[in-house]
């Protein structure tokens, strides 16, 4: 292909080298005459995907989640190959075990908060207890019987995080979770992401256009830019 890739630079990880990379991603997709591409090789903790609006960060996340098929490359999370053009691997999104937190929360409007949280949970005797525990952790225990339309954006985002975590994902994909939230509430969600990083220990691929946000959360920043 003659289309050049956008420049991708990765800062060195100041923390001790991780045992294995959580995200090994090298994908591209052509949109008209433009190529959206990204290379990530990162360990535990939060990996920030930083870049201006419209550069294709969400497209990359959609490819990692399996909602969009890359034109080429490969995606490994942990040791699991989720997509590999050369080997003909393309795991369906429902089998990727990734928790995707969308910018607009994307709660199901016809289900109450409880129904949303339980959507990806297998029925088991422990499900109710796991739900209660998650609700306490996220501070949404009082919202379980509410409809999504009655939630503030910050509350909806917490529910979305809980909904994803309850499926026991191997990592979280977060697409600018602060973008639709008013400034006063942003710190709450930022602190929550830090708790996910430090207490839950789940690896996070975190998309943002805000350098300060990326630096606060992440030891590893991957920059995406236009050509």
């Amino acid at each position: 292909m003659s289309v050049p890739r956008p420049a991708v630079t990765a800062r060195p990880d100041p923390s001790p080298p991780a045992t294995a990379s959580t995200f090994r991603i090298d994908v591209w997709r052509d949109l008209g005459d433009r190529r959206i591409a990204c290379r990530i090789d990162a360990g535990q903790g939060v990996t920030a995907l930083l870049g201006p609006s419209g550069v294709g960060k969400t497209t990359i996340l959609n490819m990692v989640a399996g909602l969009l098929r890359p034109d080429g490359g490969h995606i490994h999370v942990g040791d699991v190959p989720l997509f590999d053009a050369a080997r003909g691997i393309n795991v369906a999104p429902e089998h990727r075990r990734l928790g995707y937190i969308f910018q607009d929360a994307r709660l199901f409007p016809h289900l109450r908060v409880r129904g949303n949280l339980l959507y990806g949970v297998r029925r088991s005797p422990d499900a109710a207890e796991a739900l209660e525990e998650m609700a306490r952790f996220l501070g949404i225990a009082g919202l379980l019987d509410r409809w999504p339309s009655t939630l503030s954006m910050g509350e909806a985002q917490r529910v979305a995080i809980g909904r994803a975590l309850l499926t026991h994902p191997s990592c979280l994909l977060m697409d600018e979770p602060l973008a639709s939230i008013d400034r006063a509430r942003r710190t709450d969600i930022l602190q929550l992401v830090e708790r996910l990083r430090d207490e839950v220990g789940v690896p996070i691929l975190y998309v943002t256009h805000d350098l300060a946000e990326a630096e606060r959360l992440s030891a590893h920043i991957v920059q995406m830019d236009f050509e």
């Binding site: 959609n62 369906a92 999104p93 969308f102 959507y119 339309s149 954006m153 909904r163 008013d182």
Partner: protein
């Protein structure tokens, strides 16, 4: 209530039965067509689109005549149904239901299709990332979210079926107690002298039935519009 002679109530009952069966039997087909037209991209989609809406614009007599050709005693489908299942539609109330169902189909497909197109497909993607396969996504996300349109389509189709006349009388004729639905009874009464009072009552009955159905459909459409919710900022 309408002060109808007792022998006219069975006509209303027959009309409701024919329309209910017509809509019930047509619903899965209408939903499948609506889904295909809303979601699939394939060569010939425009042609299918046109065919689905054809009963809306073709003279109903022509639709009835085509049904005669296909489902009559010597028609390809009619003979097959008779040979294999012993089913005859010609001159039967079931034939009236078939005619009413065909005539109601375009309205049903239209209402259902609009509501399928209004389903936010990003929600389906979100469900996939939570571990739901395509069938579960359809049953738990797409179908419930398009339900208001399905209900509106059912009610519109029912109202259309209640009023169905041309294709029905061409296909199954006017047989009292079997195929004489409300509009056909009104037409028959008009042919006899001195039946103005009966015509008036039957006409009022049919207007009331259809109006009720349309009002219900309007209420559902409004609820559907209100159902497009957003988070409070």
């Amino acid at each position: 209530m309408l002060d109808l002679p007792p022998d006219y109530w069975p006509i209303i009952a027959l009309s409701i039965k024919v329309s209910a069966v017509a809509v019930g039997a047509m619903l899965p087909i209408a939903f499948a067509l609506a889904w295909i037209l809303a979601r699939w991209r394939f060569p010939g989609r425009m042609l299918l689109d046109a065919l689905v809406y054809l009963p809306l614009v073709v003279p109903p007599v022509v639709t009835g005549w085509l049904l005669l050709l296909l489902f009559g005693a010597n028609g390809p489908i009619g003979r097959w149904l008779a040979d294999w299942f012993g089913i005859t539609l010609l001159f039967r109330w079931t034939g009236a239901a078939l005619a009413a169902g065909i005539m109601a189909m375009p309205l049903m497909v239209r209402a259902i299709r609009l509501s399928i197109e209004a389903v936010d497909r990003r929600l389906e993607g979100a469900a996939r990332t939570l571990g739901a396969g395509p069938l579960r996504v359809f049953l738990t996300i797409s179908l419930p979210l398009s339900l208001p349109g399905v209900l509106a389509g059912v009610i519109l189709g029912f109202a259309r079926s209640i009023g169905e006349f041309g294709a029905t009388i061409t296909f199954v004729s006017d047989i009292p107690g079997e195929t004489r639905t409300l509009p056909i009874a009104i037409y028959a009464a008009l042919q006899a002298p001195g039946a103005e009072a009966v015509v008036t009552r039957l006409a009022i009955a049919s207007i009331l039935l259809s109006l009720t159905a349309l009002l219900l459909s309007e209420v559902l459409a409004r609820r559907m519009a209100a159902g497009v919710r957003s988070y409070r900022a």
